[in-house]
């Protein structure tokens, strides 16, 4: 058994050691003449490639009244083109031993396949085809609309927690489209038609609005040749807006509170979300500080909130702090507290706020910050093991208004954050006037609300 002295020594070793960036990601970037950006991440350990096309268009780019159309179109892209039958895309991928899928988010839509490296050209040929040659019928539309309605049933309607998060998001944004769910509002989803889908497709699906990411057992030159062959001939869309049209948030002056009651709730909890700045191109300092703030407050057993609420006061059985700074516009910083048995939501929320207030005066424990930074450096090593994760990181950033330089500067931005930066970011962002607090309960907590 190890003595306490050994543990302290070991901690010091960990914090002081400069693991990390001995292993560099092998990343090459370039652009095609039609404006399509290309990122290549090389990893030659296994004969696999991940091929992804990301569009700088997500649900927040939809026009009002057609919520869910970005995601609906994503489904419809598997329905066929001038030369591919409905379903043929996925069938060809499978016949080549690959897997394929797609996803839609607030700021982006992405299509991806994972195949043997020597099938990359075939993937590009088919993906380039459906970027411009989509063919849809009314029958496709109606069947697939039923599918996305069942998808919403599964992800949202059957889950009271998801319903509350949706209501909270709608309340957090007074004006921005981030307040509308990616999957869409039910009433609008059920009226989506061929025209809606095609209008979105023609507006946003073009090489000058797309990013190609290839990661795996391939060289940058091979990717360049294949990309020029398959994507190069596609014409740019001259009508693509120079900037993404996003209504911004007005000053937020009043905190919002909501109580969601649903008999399916077994475990009540309280959630708080604050409007928070995102990573800005060339200026990621505050987002870096907020990323570390989430770790300091809620990342694991030794975090401030877990120590206080779970261990010392025993008022919570679970606490988390969360922030994702990769977004085109303002995102959010949040907390969730699951109270211990016998603790009300009001008490849990009060304990959270008391602890946040104390943190503002106490500041950051330097030893904790050192541990977090060391883990972030180590994470860079572990991350090398999964090339699709690296691809995902670039795709997400480049469709959120960031550049390759921003992605590569991010690890250093995180390491440069000081304790003072973190408390300053906390003071700037944790302002209840720009927040939503939600209580999820099985029964209406009338007494608690009146407090």
């Amino acid at each position: 058994m190890r003595s306490l002295a050994a543990v302290i020594a070991l901690a010091a070793f960990g914090a002081g050691s400069a693991a990390a960036q001995e292993v560099e990601e092998k990343v090459t970037t370039f652009a095609l003449d039609n404006g399509m950006e290309v990122v290549v991440v090389e990893d030659h350990r296994a004969p696999v490639v991940v091929h992804m096309v990301w569009y700088k268009a997500g649900s927040a780019d939809e026009t009002a009244g057609s919520s869910g159309v970005a995601h609906f179109l994503e489904h419809l892209l598997f329905k066929g083109t001038d030369t591919l039958e409905p379903g043929e895309f996925s069938r060809v991928v499978a016949e080549n031993g690959g897997t394929d899928n797609a996803f839609t988010s607030l700021d982006q839509t992405a299509y991806h396949q994972r195949v043997a490296a020597d099938r990359l050209g075939l993937m590009m040929q088919m993906e380039a085809d459906r970027m411009v040659n989509l063919q849809l019928t009314e029958a496709d539309i109606l069947t697939e609309r039923d599918v996305i309605i069942e998808e919403r049933n599964m992800r949202v309607e059957n889950d009271p927690g998801a319903l509350m998060r949706e209501q909270m998001t709608a309340a957090l944004y007074l004006n921005h489209r981030y307040g509308v769910p990616v999957i869409g509002w039910p009433e609008e989803m059920s009226t989506l038609g061929l025209d809606d889908a095609l209008a979105y497709y023609e507006r946003f699906y073009a090489p000058n609005n797309a990013i190609l990411i290839v990661a795996g057992d391939v060289t940058a030159d091979e990717v360049r040749d294949l990309a020029e062959q398959h994507y190069g001939p596609l014409p740019a869309n001259p009508d693509l807006p120079a900037e993404r049209m996003r209504p911004q948030e007005p000053p937020q002056l009043a905190e919002r509170r909501l109580v969601m009651t649903d008999p399916r709730v077994a475990q009540p909890y309280v959630m708080r979300r604050y409007l928070a700045p995102e990573r800005e191109p060339g200026a990621q300092e505050q987002a870096a500080a907020l990323t570390l703030l989430a770790e300091v407050l809620g990342g694991g057993q030794t975090s401030v909130l877990n120590r206080a609420l779970q261990f010392d006061q025993q008022k919570a059985i679970y606490v988390s702090a969360f922030y994702d700074g990769t977004a085109y516009d303002d995102g959010s910083f949040g907390f969730a507290v699951v109270p211990a048995p016998g603790v009300t939501l009001a008490e849990a929320e009060a304990a959270l706020d008391a602890e946040l207030a104390e943190f503002m005066t106490e500041g950051v424990d330097p030893a904790q910050l050192d541990r977090i930074k060391f883990q972030l450096r180590a994470q860079r090593i572990y991350a090398q093991d999964d090339v699709s994760d690296i691809a995902q990181r670039y795709g997400n950033a480049l469709t959120s208004g960031l550049t390759v330089a921003d992605v590569q500067a991010w690890p250093d931005a995180l390491q440069a954050v000081t304790g003072e930066d973190i408390t300053a970011a906390a003071r700037a962002v944790l302002d209840r006037r720009r927040s939503v607090t939600g209580w999820l309960t099985a029964e209406a907590p009338t007494k608690e609300v009146s407090q």
Partner: protein
């Protein structure tokens, strides 16, 4: 005891395989001085190691009345060990940037570790403390118990979890497979520290461990590491559970639950992993219902009729029973149609088998996809552990695709007729489904 000081007598031999699509996986079989056997794929380009341990037995070893003991014990392994209390252990883990994950399964306890080369020895020492000398402090036990109880209460109102629990209870009754490994509110509330200590002694034993590693470590280094890590574990004293036959009847069991979308699980008996027909059944299921859009269930239920977002089926060979299972979710007024379509497909395949084109397509997919799995230290270590749990030898990596190719149209037809039994397909539906005429009703 410091096994590092023992003379190093690691036996290592290497089998080298060339996978189709030119992946080369070298599986080294390591036998340590203390007698442990491990599989290793050495890959030094990224300075960390992925280590996977599996302890056979798992939550199925829970003693009568102690359901949930193994699960709670496993959750407590990272909550204090040796001289470190819960917080101390977490700080030490963070300081090393090591990643340890402990999972309880019905048939095995899994430990997944990733650690950096630069502090490997310290990280493994910390991992060792959690395996050999967990403290099970009463305050940690009570705190984690409250988390487990919260999860049990949540499952009681979650349609997916209700469906699984109802199906398992119907099929397995009092066998450990018949109940969730988390236990019940009553059983978990009653667990004492002595129960947890007993579960640790019974569940983490040196004669039932399976070991796999991949990454920046040599066979010699791994050998030393394993002996230091595992030599102080006890030998097993508790027998593994009895095997249990799966007997189901056709029909629908409805669990009333107020929610807009019904969740259905369906199943019948399956095939053991070492059954000679397992590969034919595996290929058959690829055609019927495994994942992809081309599968018959996905085509009929989703693509043609839009009745669901997802439907799939899978073979579930466990250590003491084998199931053939599937899942679908549809709005309350459409679930009956979805289930009817699935039943028809079940019967159709049993009666008529598959076409040559379907078989060819499934084989091309399965053989092409197999080498793509070996794409990182983490996945490789998991595959090696899984192969050993399944009783396979390293040459399976080269032989596997040939076994897929060897499956004939006649094999699939025969297995489909033998295995798929519309008269045994039991469906559990949780929700407020419409249109099931002769359904049984169960309470959640």
């Amino acid at each position: 005891m410091i096994p590092v000081l023992k003379p190093l007598l690691a036996l290592a031999f290497t089998l080298s395989f060339t996978l189709p699509a030119r992946a080369e996986i070298e599986i080294q079989q390591v036998e340590t001085p203390a007698g442990f056997k491990a599989w290793l794929v050495e890959e030094p380009s990224i300075p960390f190691t992925a280590l996977e341990l599996r302890f056979r037995g798992g939550a199925a070893l829970d003693l009568p009345g102690k359901r949930g003991a193994t699960n709670l014990m496993v959750a407590l392994l990272e909550e204090g060990a040796g001289d470190l209390d819960s917080r101390g252990f977490a700080e030490a883990t963070e300081s090393l940037a090591a990643q340890f994950r402990y999972d309880a399964g019905q048939d095995a306890i899994g430990v997944s570790a990733r650690f950096l080369t630069e502090n490997r020895e310290a990280a493994v020492d910390l991992l060792r403390q959690s395996l050999i000398a967990p403290r099970f402090d009463q305050d940690a036990l009570d705190r984690v118990r409250a988390q487990v109880l919260s999860g049990i209460r949540s499952d009681a109102k979650d349609p997916d979890a209700i469906a699984d629990a109802t199906f398992d209870a119907l099929v397995f009754g009092d066998h450990p497979y018949g109940s969730d490994l988390s236990g019940t509110e009553d059983s978990v509330t009653a667990l004492t520290r002595e129960d947890i200590v007993a579960a640790h002694q019974a569940g983490m034993t040196r004669d039932r461990v399976v070991i796999a590693a991949a990454g920046d470590i040599t066979a010699e280094e791994l050998s030393t590491l394993i002996d230091g890590l595992l030599s102080d574990l006890p030998d097993s004293t508790q027998d593994l559970p009895e095997d249990v036959a799966v007997e189901t009847t056709a029909g629908v069991t409805v669990v009333p639950f107020e929610t807009p979308q019904s969740v259905a699980v369906f199943g019948q008996r399956g095939l053991a992993r070492d059954d000679p027909d397992f590969f034919a059944a595996y290929v058959m299921n690829t055609i019927l219902g495994a994942g992809g859009f081309e599968a018959r269930l996905m085509q009929e239920v989703r693509e043609k009729r839009g009745l669901t977002y997802g439907v799939y089926s899978y073979l579930l060979p466990m250590d003491h029973a084998a199931l053939y299972m599937g899942r679908v979710a549809s709005a309350n007024d459409r679930i009956a149609e979805a289930v009817a379509v699935i039943r028809d497909e079940w019967a159709k395949l049993a009666e008529a088998g598959v076409t040559q084109a379907e078989l060819d397509q499934a084989k091309t997919y399965l053989t092409g996809a197999y080498p793509l799995r070996f794409d990182g230290n983490g996945p490789i270590a998991q595959i090696l552990a899984g192969m050993q749990m399944d009783g396979l030898t390293p040459d399976y990596v080269t032989d596997r695709n040939a076994m897929v190719e060897a499956v004939t149209l006649e094999d699939v037809k025969r297995v489909a007729a033998d295995l798929l039994d519309p008269e045994a397909l039991r469906v559990v539906v949780v929700g407020q489904p419409e249109g099931f005429e002769d359904a049984d009703t169960a309470t959640p």
